[in-house]
């Protein structure tokens, strides 16, 4: 897996979307349906993962896909990028990858006799970071800081990143040697973590049939333009989250902080991202308001990678803490009352 230097894909830089207005929810539903159908031509039977990936894109977050090799993590990321008319770059993380390999370098231009900035792969709308836990912490943090700040500073000059900007990082939980688990502070920057899981038998058979001839990825053409995408993002952002729903999200987050099975609860940023993701999910359902169901459907993907269990629950290996965290969150949700209406105390 030697892919150094990082491979650049065309059109990676300087794609900035114009400020867009929200669109009617019907159009949104129509476009998002197209995207999902397109992605599903390459990823079989993973509807929930596909939806969450799109949701993260629309909510302007970053996605962490955690699973064993060969279940289509990279394929999902690339299909998502392909189906939307956005620039994509892919970085294969290795232990010897340097920060400059991500952010870009200033090189001395002999003809102009000055330093010229050569943007790194981070200057793309969708950045695929493969096996992010293989890089050294220094390199990881270079990517993760740019994720949060959406800008890169090289040699005292600040360069804005593309908009929209989504990092889709993958990590492999079962190889432990030579990996650097992402510290919790950095995991917190990802809006959601999903795991692909193995396809079921039918999907796997269908996959064998379609992959026999050619790579289906090549057949993908963008179905949504960048303008429309910006409009979709604006639409998702405009979804209404009622005080009751906010109250519910906060109640769940606070419960994670109090829970005796958890050593670290959800951060306020987690709550913020939960509500943002819930808005995108509501929009994907064709709704203009968030339901508590959106919140509790997303609690595991959004909170799962941020919480640290108290010693006795599960074993944290490489940041992967398996089902036990999901169980704890499910229990917390089952114990949290769903507020009705805006009355308080009623």
């Amino acid at each position: 897996m030697k892919s150094f230097p990082a491979k650049f894909e065309p059109g990676h830089a300087e794609v900035t979307l114009p400020v867009a207005a929200a669109m009617p929810i019907e159009n949104f539903l129509n476009l998002s349906g197209k995207i999902i159908r397109t992605i599903e031509t390459v990823i079989d039977g993973k509807n929930e993962a596909v939806r969450i990936a799109l949701m993260v894109l629309l909510a302007e977050g970053h996605l962490l896909i955690e699973d064993v090799p060969g279940v289509g993590k990279t394929m999902l990321a690339r299909a998502l990028a392909r189906s939307v008319d956005l620039s994509v770059s892919r970085i294969q993380f290795t232990p010897d990858l340097l920060p400059a390999d991500i952010t870009g370098v200033s090189v001395f231009n002999q003809s102009d006799r000055e330093f010229e900035f050569k943007p790194g792969p981070v200057f793309a709308n969708i950045v695929i970071g493969d096996e992010i836990n293989r890089a050294s912490p220094k390199t990881q943090s270079a990517l993760l800081e740019s994720m949060e700040e959406r800008q890169v500073t090289v040699d005292g000059k600040t360069y804005l990143l593309a908009h929209p900007f989504t990092v889709v990082a993958t990590q492999n939980p079962i190889e432990m040697e030579g990996t650097y688990a992402l510290p919790e502070a950095q995991r917190d920057r990802f809006m959601a973590r999903i795991s692909m899981g193995y396809p079921d038998a039918d999907s796997e058979i269908a996959m064998l049939r379609t992959r026999a001839t050619s790579s289906p990825l090549d057949a993908l053409t963008p179905v949504v333009g960048s303008t429309e995408l910006a409009s979709m993002i604006a639409t998702a952002r405009g979804v209404f989250a009622s005080p009751a729903v906010e109250q519910y999200a906060v109640a769940i987050a606070q419960a994670t902080r109090r829970d005796s099975d958890l050593r670290l609860g959800a951060s306020p940023r987690a709550t913020l991202q939960l509500v943002r993701a819930a808005k995108a999910r509501a929009a994907l359902d064709g709704r203009e308001f968030v339901l508590p169901d959106d919140i509790n459907a997303l609690a595991v993907p959004v909170f799962g990678h941020r919480l640290i269990p108290a010693g006795r629950v599960g074993v944290t290996v490489g940041g992967y803490s398996g089902d036990t965290i999901a169980d704890i969150i499910t229990r917390i949700i089952a114990e949290t009352h769903v507020p009705l209406g805006v009355r308080s105390g009623g």
Binding site: F240, S242, A244, V245, E288, F289, V290, L291, P292, D293, N296, I333, A334, E335, T336, H337, V338, P339, L340, G341, V342, R343, S344, G345, G346
Partner: protein, 757 residues
Amino acid sequence: MTTFSAVRSGAAVPTSTGVADLRMSGLLLIALGIAMAGLHSILADLSWWFIGFSVAFAVFAAAAVARRYLRARWMGTIAAVVVAIAVITLYFSDGTAFLGVIPTTSTLSHFSSLMAESNDSIAQQSVPAFAVTSIQFLICWSIALTAIVMDAVALWWRTPALAGIPLFVVVAVPSFVRSELSDGFFFILTAAVYLLIVRNRTRRVQPGVAVAVGAVAVVGALLVPVILPPVNPAVAGGSGLGALSESINPIINLGQNLRDSRAIPALSYTTTSDFGQYLRLTTLENFEGQQWEPQISKDDSANTVKKIGAPPGLAAGIATTTVRTRVQIANTTSSWLPTPYPSTKITGLQGPWYWQAGTLAVRSDTASMEGQKYTVDSLEVDPSVSQLRAAPPSPKSALAKVPAGLDPIIAATAKKVVGNAKTDFDKAIALQNWFRGGTFTYSTKTPAARGFDGSGLDVIVPFLKNKSGYCVHFATTMAVMARTLGIPSRIAVGFLPGKATHTAGAGAGVNLYEVSSSDLHAWPELYFKGIGWVRFEPTPGKGFEPSFSATTSGSPKTDPGAPANLPAPSSATPVPTTGPRLTVGQQQGQQSAVATPDTSAANWTWLFVLLLLAVLVFPGLARRSQRRRRIDRIRQSFYPEVGAWEELRDTARDLGLDARESSTPAQLAVYLSDFLLTTSGRRSADARAALDKLRRMVESESYDIPQFNYNGEQIAVALKTVSRGLRSASPLPNRIRAVLLPPTLVDLALGRSLLRA
């Protein structure tokens, strides 16, 4: 969330809960047993506890077995009720039941008379009360009822915390009586077992219910002593009638028993006679030193009570009538059996009992009279005065022997009293009239105060000087005086007729008498040749004189001042009557007048039941009023969708469905819709449509930008449609529980705001 089949209680019980159920039954039994033990402060001895505990055991065991093998929780409660009735019938039916356990109509009437008796008994006794049969009956059915309720709430309705309410009622009974009577030790022990019960099966609603139970307990403890009538305080004293059993000679402690102001029920009897019966334990005819002693013959083991020998001295020609008396002994023990004299036949006795030749006293070396129930046939000897006057004197008899060393003043006094009376009978009557004539007063205290308390010969002279004493003094003195006049005499020890309580069996002339410890008595019997032993009554204000004395015109008995026939033994005021023909009606009037301050206490039983009922009915009523309030608000369009959804959720939970507050409207709607699909038909379809409408309404009004475009009336109708659908899809036990004991009670107890935190 969707496995509602598992939470529909009332359906089949999974076997895995069998052991937990058994453990719960065991805990409930222990808790009830301990709570019952707390009653020791108001009930004497322990027999009642074992009887009550056996009933509780039977109830819990029957319920557990039925639940385990019939696989339905409600079957357990049915079984518990059936077994409780059977066991109580077995214990108390007194042979009136079919096969011993199946109550018949006569069993029911027997039970109602037991109920009446238990009320009387509670009214008469002071604490600690003696658990006579009727009180045992009361305890048994109360405990059975409590056990059934505890079992039903804990194992049928699956809310073991509520078992604390009946438990509390039992623990609180002593404090109903008087607040300082409750025993903190048993209260704490009961509370500890209760905590185990609550811990045994913790459900999320339990802490709330526990708080509610606690609140009921506190309020109850504050209110009940104020509301309930006070009871007679106990007077510190000796061991009551138990003293009879220790001594072979019942006269020894008689004075002490009489002075004990507690009237402990000793026995009750019905008799076909028009008069109450003097029930004799034994007669004392021998002197052993200074003491009267009963004669005990060693060779009487052949004298079984099936046929008792002829009364000594009774010749043909004396009018007799046979009287049948049924006696029920309470908790008095003695090896002598109370019988009317002269008895001819006794049936129904347990253990070996023999009659003694000569005295006809019935005794047993091994058995005790306690709890015995028997029927005595006896003769009412009715000699005419002329027959008595004609009886030849028999001064040579062994029983006319004057005790050696007797103070001659006694013989002199006797001579002076009888004056010129010719016959033995006239002399006896003269003695009797002298004692009853007003010169002597009845007092249990004077002899003790002046140092002549006792029954020996040495008390006679001080008694004659003080002219005050109790029955033993009168009986001893008259018997000794009769001997100095050459009349054979002896002393009988036993019970006065007691007080007639009511007529059992209208028109049958069978009267029921209650005899208590204060009716213990001694009286002299004098022997007349050809007639036999004749009872006399020298004690003023006690009992009544033999009937011949009242019917003889011209005899000294017509003295209008002669006190007679006082059925209320504690009353020292003589009531002049012409004889023993006090009618039952009069006696009842007298009795109720005496007992008036206590009758309110008889209402405990009903208060106990009412309290239990009120506690049971309260949750359902509270829930109803909450529902009505919510529907009113919905109609007024005050956040109607929220109110409707909350009400819907609570209705579902009341029906045993798993409708949690942590379910989102969509989740709950899916769950309820699945549940409604278990039944088909228009009602179910309507309910599902209305449910969907409500769900959309609550989602858009709660979580979307509020539109306020609702119609409260329509929402109320939709709510009713869904509720009706849910109810008709639920099994019957769940519907009953929803009415009587809604699980959402916890919301009322804690208030919703706490739950919304």
